[in-house]
């Protein structure tokens, strides 16, 4: 599947296109098919997102998983600071990245 990600203009938070708006959870991502570039242009023009781009992802038992490690780290947070990640209570969350 193709999903769309970027950073929130004001906070810089990593965000994912959920079909009708942006979410901070990669698991909420919508498959944008071949509409990715069009969405990037529209959402950046509306000043809702910065640096948006389309990535490949797969659906796994654990949910949506970006194909590239860089995007998995973006989805979780720094693997060396689990306390600052989106899963601060899951000591093994970093394994999902690798």
């Amino acid at each position: 599947m193709k999903i769309l990600t970027g950073n929130d203009l004001g906070t810089g938070d990593v965000i994912w296109w959920a079909g009708d708006g942006w979410s901070r959870l990669v698991g909420d991502s919508a498959d944008v098919g071949d509409r990715g570039d069009e969405l990037v242009r529209a959402e950046e023009a509306a000043q809702r997102v910065v640096g948006a781009y389309v990535i490949d992802a797969t659906v796994t038992d654990e949910g949506i998983r970006p194909a590239h490690i860089k995007d998995r780290i973006r989805a979780l947070g720094p693997t060396v600071r689990p306390d600052l990640s989106l899963k601060p209570n899951d000591a093994d969350a970093g394994n999902w990245v690798i």
Partner: protein, 543 residues
Amino acid sequence: MYRYDSYDQSIVDARVEEFRDQVQRRLAGHLTEDQFKPLRLMNGLYLQLHAYMLRIAIPYGTLSARQMRKLGEVARKYDRGYGHFTTRTNIQFNWIKLADAPDILAELATVEMHAIQTSGNCIRNISSDQYAGVAADEVTDPRPWAELLRQWSTFHPEFTYLPRKFKICVIATAEDRSAMRLHDIGLKLVKRGDEIGAEVYAGGGMGRTPMVGPQIRDFVPEDEVIPYLEACLRVYNRYGRRDNKFKARIKILVHELGVEEYKRQVEEEFAQMKVLGLNPPREELDRIRPFFANPAYEQGLSDEIDRGDPAFALWVDRQVATHRQPGYAIVNISLKPVGGIPGDASADQIDLIADLAEHYSLDELRVTHAQNLVLPHVKKADLYAIWQKLDEAGLAEANLDLIGDIIACPGLDYCSLANARSIPLAQKLSERFASPDRQKDLGELKLKISGCINACGHHHAGHIGILGVDRKGVENFQLLLGGSGAEDASLGQITGPGFSEDGVVDAIEKVTDIYLAERAQGERFLDTYRRIGMKPFKEAIYG
């Protein structure tokens, strides 16, 4: 320390208000990201993997206690309670909100700090020796020169849009603690008779095409250093490769022209510059110098240190350096705890170090390119009290220049340019080699890790260097041996095929085993490598 005059303060304040307006226009949708990006970068505000990152300049690595305290305040109030000291002796905050950036810069301006020229194709923060002003063997104090260069390069209209970024380092000792020859221009202050001047090195650097800067002048008299640098930069500005970002640094120009031709063009330009009267007036250097006069050292202090506590004695032996003033010492504070993140300091640690600087180091501290901190003016009688306070805060690691004193860039955990994670690897290595006895036995061994070819972790200059690469979406680590950023500067050579994260840890252990087996009396790792070459190491690693 240098203190801003009204001119310094007014230009920094004006820049804050200008940026505040730009941020407001961006948030209101009046500026697009394409329009705004170069403006935010000029103020040190990057967009990284997880958030905006603010890089704050620490000129020649020097901070007062109140400046350090302000950094702790920024960490606590605007970030997530910590900061990261970098190999450029700056500090970065990783979790900044765009709307907060102008307020942060306004707060920094109240303590004479800013983020100007910490990004962009301009002259970046000037770097220098962390022992400047206190090293026993220095020819002169390099800080007034560094400050003069800071003032000269700040908002220099001709050098605001260079082909690429430009880094200058100035030192004044034979021992190079600042990787001087791996800068775009390195100045080594020297004495010729009674006259002070500079040896000039140009075209050094790391990144994807590492070069050790060749000497282009053996002596530039003090009064002519600025016009000579103007000439160096003019030639670069005119002929640097603006057509190709990856070939745009001065090192490529010097390499492609050849050192002799670059020198010839610089000398030609210099001859024209000299008659224009562009030298900064001697009075300006004379105005700056008193800010760096010796502080009020107490006289007649004892040089005795009570070494009764073995853990303290171990720390003294490793972390304390000779000060030129009797009764005083230089304290190196390691930001490399076993299993920790190199260069990171919590807000509480930052506050503590500010307090230590204020109470025990004549209100001053330094940041090193190896991502450690220095208290430059400590009475030997106070060392034990300082060590106890550092120990309580997890800052008393005794590993300066040992294998545990790892330089690591933020890597793929934070950086949008990175290909691999540097920090987890640094953590694994520091745990593998955690034993103080083992580290001591291995002796000086500088291990440096970069998460991509841009080499922010100085892997080319590591006795052992590691470069993280992306191999079909999987992290892979190349191993290099034989680099040095010191006065014996050299570039590391790749051993061969890369490794997984665990594989490179094992490979380094094999490398150190070969060193221990082969070393001659008194040889550092680097010396042994240079004597016996790559072959035995390669055989041990790859079988």
